[in-house]
């Protein structure tokens, strides 16, 4: 974990917004193409992108995220739920 002071407190919808923006930019998708219940792999997300996404998202949140996170939470909905709960407990 990084410096405690730099942890960002966020809501589920802020996290969702951040990830959607990221996917739109990185994978060249349309915002309305993104189904929160579809597996990330459906968007063409590979392991390199997953590593960079978790790295950048962790930087934004202010604490390190595990690179395997998207395997355990393979849809936007499950991932956002998980992160929102984790963020509340920070």
């Amino acid at each position: 974990m990084n410096n405690q002071n730099s942890i960002r407190t966020v809501t589920a919808s802020q996290i969702q917004e951040w990830i959607i923006t990221y996917l739109v930019d990185e994978l060249d998708l349309n915002k309305d193409e993104i189904d929160v219940q579809a597996p990330f792999t459906d968007f063409g997300l590979d392991s390199s992108t997953a590593v960079i996404l978790t790295g950048d998202l962790g930087e934004w949140l202010g604490y390190d995220l595990d690179p395997t996170l998207l395997l355990d939470y393979p849809t936007l909905e499950t991932l956002v739920n998980h992160l929102a709960i984790e963020n509340q407990n920070c």
Binding site: D46, S47, S48, A50, V51, I52, T54, G55, D64, D66, P67, T68, L70, L71
Partner: protein, 303 residues
């Protein structure tokens, strides 16, 4: 061909066309900087998957791994043990210091690793800058250990049949070098739910160039009828955990790491650890530990 008379290995022509990763490709990775590797490896400097059973720290888990292989190879208190792909010498040291082995021989293709081990000036450790295909021991070994090196024994240009041949050459050599009843303890990453075509190109080009991973079936086929497989265990989740520990250590020492190898390399290693974690966690890759026992009288011409 099996004429290892008494204690001497038969002298025979040694012209093998080695088909693994070149010394240059190995040095590209392992000669980056000893100090850099030290920053995030444990104190034994083990650079391979640990064994986390009943272990809390990376160091404990690496020692469990070393002990597991030493036991599986039956190398305790042996006269003469070979470590193929010895890295920074973690097994060599443990063999002579904790397990009363008389002579431990280590092979590596990395100059930096050889230099590192040579500074110990340990009379019972013989480290050589030499690939297994060039190795010509004068007396047979009691046991052979190889951890995290088999990944490099086939280059990316080989077909599956050619890979099996390349691995067969390896097992034939081990067979010649071992005393009757001798064992190999082998650890390697394998393709599980993936093939060469699925491999992340960043890993295969920028991190481990020139190396194609084995499939379990290729290893089994290559060893068939000269070695008996005694125990096989697959431990991919332990590699996720090992990589997580390395990543944590690297991040904790980021500033120093950047000073040693530069920002770009540090970012590349962070990315490599993350991609490999995903590979093992998803089951695309696996980590096999294979204990093999020499078949002393193969019932056919093994070549």
């Amino acid at each position: 061909m099996e004429t290892a008379k008494e204690n001497k290995i038969a002298n025979k022509p040694n012209k093998l066309h080695y088909q693994g990763a070149s010394a240059q490709a190995i040095q590209y990775h392992y000669d980056l900087s000893n100090e850099f590797y030290q920053l995030w490896l444990d104190t034994t400097c083990s650079y391979s998957c640990a064994l986390w059973e009943d272990a809390e720290t990376l160091e404990e888990a690496q020692i469990k791994k070393l002990d597991y292989h030493i036991t599986q190879a039956g190398a305790q208190e042996a006269q003469h043990v070979l470590d193929i792909g010895c890295g920074w010498g973690s097994i060599l040291k443990r063999l002579v210091n904790q397990y009363h082995v008389k002579q431990a021989v280590g092979l590596t293709l990395s100059q930096a690793q050889q230099d590192w081990i040579a500074t110990w000036n340990h009379p019972q450790i013989d480290v050589r800058l030499e690939g297994w295909a060039e190795h010509q021991p004068e007396i047979p070994y009691d046991a052979i250990i190889s951890i995290g090196a088999f990944e490099h024994f086939a280059n990316t240009k080989l077909s599956s049949a050619e890979k099996v041949d390349a691995y067969r050459n390896f097992f034939n050599r081990c067979h010649e070098w071992l005393k009757p009843g001798g064992r190999i303890s082998l650890q390697t990453i394998i393709y599980e739910n993936a093939g060469e075509e699925d491999v992340n190109s960043f890993l295969s080009q920028e991190i481990f160039p020139d190396s194609a991973l084995p499939r379990l079936a290729e290893i089994v086929q290559a060893a068939e009828r000269i070695f008996e497989i005694d125990i096989l265990r697959n431990d991919r989740e332990y590699y996720v955990r090992t990589l997580r520990a390395w990543l944590k250590n690297l991040r904790a020492n980021r500033a120093e790491a950047i000073q040693l190898v530069g920002e770009k390399q540090v970012a590349a290693y962070e990315k490599y650890f993350g991609i490999a974690m995903i590979g093992f966690h998803s089951g695309n890759l696996n980590l096999s530990r294979i204990s093999l026992k020499r078949i002393d009288a193969p019932r056919f011409n093994k070549h």
